[in-house]
């Protein structure tokens, strides 16, 4: 394989961005369709190239291809090299990113049709994909960080795509600022690692960490710093608040953010730096605990949301928590020497990434389904939906497939990766296992709550159900083919992606198709999931139980969940207003105005006062100046005559 191929994968969407921004938008704005086609073509090509890379990687020994790197920057003795990593992890990520992105772009053709900023949308989408691909391919922390921020920037631009809506603008700012908080830790960790080791190269850092060259508290703090970046990007507790708000962006953007790009970046980072984490018990424990807690914590909030996209958003947070949990527990195993080092490192990555891989497809599908529903009903509020099964059979079918998959019913995709995580949690961190297993139940409940509220029962909205007969307003209808087709593809992937040998490819264990059913763990989780589904059915479809009475009985809990544990309030009212604005910022303000400004103003004022006195010399009389010059000349001559 030519060494340019991985670079080309990154550059294709990037050039698409350049072309759209600098050629199509200024000169061909009357033909916005072009931008869509260019984006799809470039990402499609990138997908094909990714398959090529995958094939090459799977043939390579140790699943690693060595790529040439280049000297990029020389500052004194420091040489910063620029190169790409192509290993199994990167290859899998490339496939995930390009395929999901491609399908989302196709879907967007339909979803964004007629939007006045069509070209801008595709420009940002291209850049977003490009940044994510760059992040995946980067072989050193510096470039990884550059693309990391690029992804953040693009998410800001896309969440705030409809910036004229105040909510969207606010959500974009929030997403940007909250992830920034994590990024700060990440940047600190990068610099810390650099000063410790003198390198940005990830491979070197990994081997240094494994050899114990960093070691101890330093390593722990570095790992936690890196993890804080991941927490921000992957919306883990306590930086999870931005993700639900990010629903203000166009739905395909949500699909992309949630499935393949933005949030996946966090998990990918932890996976990429896994050897560093695995060298410190504290670090991996933190990862596992945060992941496990986030999983159940987000799921509880998902239970009560009425906005379909918010439910999906909390589900994403929850699932990301699973991934972190998976990485964390295997890491604990490795750190405690319960698993052999070599095997464990690959295993951890495999466990986490396998779920990421599966999750990408079904979560993208869920969002696209939600978008499709929105396309039909014009709302995201589930209370105004219902009965859509009849009008939108394809959407329903694919959404259902994705829901079963995320719940983890054999043999759909979610089952396989979730089982891995649960297994390892049981093996290495029993407490977290229980959190996870409860989360399985909760996941099943809220996903099927969505399914039942949206597709079952009678339509509760204001639109006309009977297609074509609508005398008032547009009628409900299935989405166009250009939207349904990607959903269909994703539905197939959501079913079968678990059967693909991704886990073993990454170095994890593989389970045979029926062999999985032999494990008791599978049955436990499936029974719990089924329970959740049943409860949802009972409450929302069959109405055996009254939702209202339940809500009354658990009123405090319901309030707690629906107010999202008051986290937004905590952050905005308490931390930002009380602590930051009233406390620290006020202190800074005082220091700034009194001390800093005081010194500056004092100097300036003194200068001004002195100037007021001295400026009298400047009479504006040219000849006065000339006289001064000649008196000076005479003085010099006099000096020469007297002393010379």
């Amino acid at each position: 394989m030519p060494s340019g191929v991985p670079l080309a994968i990154f550059l294709l969407p990037f050039f698409s961005f350049i072309v759209i921004s600098f050629v199509i938008r200024p000169f061909l704005n009357s033909k916005p369709k072009l931008s869509g086609y260019i984006t799809i073509a470039s990402i499609g090509t990138a997908l094909i190239l990714s398959f090529w890379v995958l094939a090459e990687v799977s043939n390579a020994p140790g699943h690693v291809l060595s790529m040439p790197d280049y000297e990029w920057l020389v500052i004194g003795d420091t040489v910063i090299r620029l190169g790409v990593t192509v290993d199994a992890l990167a290859a899998i990520m490339l496939i995930v990113v390009t395929s999901v992105s491609l399908l989302v772009q196709v879907y967007s053709q339909g979803y964004m049709r007629g939007d006045p900023s069509y070209s801008r949308y595709f420009a940002f989408m291209s850049l977003f994909t490009a940044c994510m691909l760059g992040l995946v391919l980067a072989d050193n922390l510096l470039f990884l960080y550059v693309f990391w921020e690029g992804v953040g920037l693009c998410s800001y631009l896309l969440i705030g795509f409809w910036f004229h809506r105040p909510a969207a603008a606010r959500a974009a700012t929030k997403a940007f600022l909250v992830t920034r908080l994590g990024d700060f830790g990440f940047l600190a960790a990068i610099l810390f690692l650099y000063f410790k080791t003198g390198t940005f190269d990830i491979g070197e850092l990994q081997s240094l960490a494994l050899m114990g060259a960093i070691g101890g508290t330093a390593l722990t703090w570095a790992a936690i710093g890196v993890f804080s970046g991941a927490v921000g990007k992957s919306a883990q507790f306590p930086l999870h608040t931005w993700l639900p708000d990010a629903m203000e962006g166009p739905t395909p953007v949500s699909a992309l953010i949630h499935a393949a790009t933005m949030v996946a970046a966090g998990v990918y980072l932890v996976a990429r730096m896994f050897p560093v984490f695995a060298s410190s018990v504290e670090a991996v424990t933190t990862v596992a605990v945060i992941g496990g807690f986030t999983a159940i914590f987000a799921a509880t909030m998902g239970l009560v949301m009425n906005d379909i996209k918010r439910v999906l958003a909390y589900s994403t947070i929850s699932q990301l928590g699973y991934m972190m949990l998976g990485l964390g527990v295997v890491g604990i195993g490795v750190a405690n020497d319960a698993i052999a080092l070599e095997e464990g490192l690959a295993l951890g990555v495999a466990v986490g990434m396998f779920h990421l891989f599966n999750h990408a497809f079904f979560k993208a599908l869920l969002f696209l389904g939600a978008g499709s529903v929105n396309h039909a009903t014009g709302t995201f509020d589930m209370r105004e939906m219902g009965g859509l099964r009849k009008v939108m059979p394809w959407t329903y079918a694919s959404f259902l497939a994705a829901s079963i998959s995320i719940v983890g019913i054999w043999p759909l995709a979610g089952f396989w990766s979730k089982e891995g995580i649960l297994d390892h949690a049981w093996d290495h961190q029993t407490a977290l296992f229980f959190l996870a297993i409860i989360t399985v139940f909760l996941t099943a409940f809220y996903m099927f709550r969505v399914v039942f509220l949206t597709f079952a029962g009678e339509y509760r909205g204001s639109k006309d159900v009977d297609s074509g007969a609508g005398a008032h307003g547009p009628s409900l209808h299935e989405s166009p083919l250009v939207m349904v087709a990607p959903m269909g593809v994703l539905a197939i992937l959501a079913v079968i992606s678990g059967w693909l040998p991704v886990s073993s490819f990454l170095g994890g264990e593989s389970v045979s198709f029926f062999g999985a059913l032999a494990s008791p763990m599978a049955w436990v989780s499936m029974i719990l999931a089924a329970g959740g589904i049943l409860l949802a059915y009972a409450l929302y479809s069959a109405k055996w139980l009254s939702v209202e009475s339940l809500r009354r009985r658990f009123a405090p809990l319901h309030t707690l969940f629906s107010r999202k544990y008051w986290f937004d309030e905590l952050y905005e009212r308490v931390i930002v207003v009380r602590v930051l604005v009233d406390g620290i910022f006020a202190l800074f303000n005082w220091f700034d105005t009194r001390i800093v400004d005081g010194i500056v103003n004092g100097v300036a004022g003194g200068t001004v006062e002195a100037g007021k006195v001295i400026r009298r010399v400047e009479t504006g009389q040219l000849q006065a100046y000339a006289i001064a010059i000649f008196v000076g000349v005479l003085a010099i001559v006099a000096c020469f005559l007297i002393f010379g």
Binding site: Q621, Q623, I627, L634, L641
Partner: protein, 166 residues
């Protein structure tokens, strides 16, 4: 030319030169002052001839009389400076003092220095010697010369830009 000729012409030229310079400074009629400036330039050209700098003498007439003096007269007419005459300003006593001290200093320096002058008249034309000094690539002033050309161009453009009606 022999010494008598040189001496006579020097004294004539010097007296006329200084007198016309004084006239430039002290005449109230500004147009006449400008004419005396022309005379002063002309006598300086004469001084150059005595100093066997024939090229410079001609250049002096060409540049100072032909261009600079004419420009100044033009400016006099355009600014109607003749209506106010040529009054002295508030610095005249200081200026006189500075000028006088400067003159005395210079005369002291000139007379007090032992100049190692070569009195023989240089032979041959200065034009080609000057051209060699200006343009020869090894020890010439070719770079300053080109910079001077650029300076002139800049001055021309600057003057046009300044004077242009908005």
């Amino acid at each position: 030319m022999d010494n008598v000729g040189i001496t006579a012409s020097f004294w004539v030229l010097a007296v006329v030169c200084v007198a016309s310079a004084l006239a430039v400074v002290f005449l109230r009629d500004i147009f006449r002052a400008a004419l005396f400036l022309v005379l002063c330039f002309f006598t300086v050209a004469g001084v150059f001839v005595i100093l066997s700098a024939d090229f410079l003498a001609v250049a002096q007439v060409l540049i100072y009389v032909g261009a600079i003096a004419v420009l100044i007269i033009f400016a006099l007419m355009l600014t109607r400076g003749t209506q106010q005459g040529s009054p002295s300003g508030r610095f005249r006593f200081t200026a006189f003092l500075v000028g006088a001290v400067f003159l005395v200093t210079m005369i002291l320096v000139v007379t007090g220095t032992d100049w190692q002058a070569i009195t023989e008249t240089p032979t041959g034309s200065t034009t080609s010697a000057l051209a060699h000094a200006l343009f020869s690539e090894e020890e010439g002033f070719i770079l300053p010369f080109e910079i001077a050309a650029a300076l002139l161009l800049a001055a021309v453009i600057g003057a046009i830009v300044l004077i242009r009606e908005k």
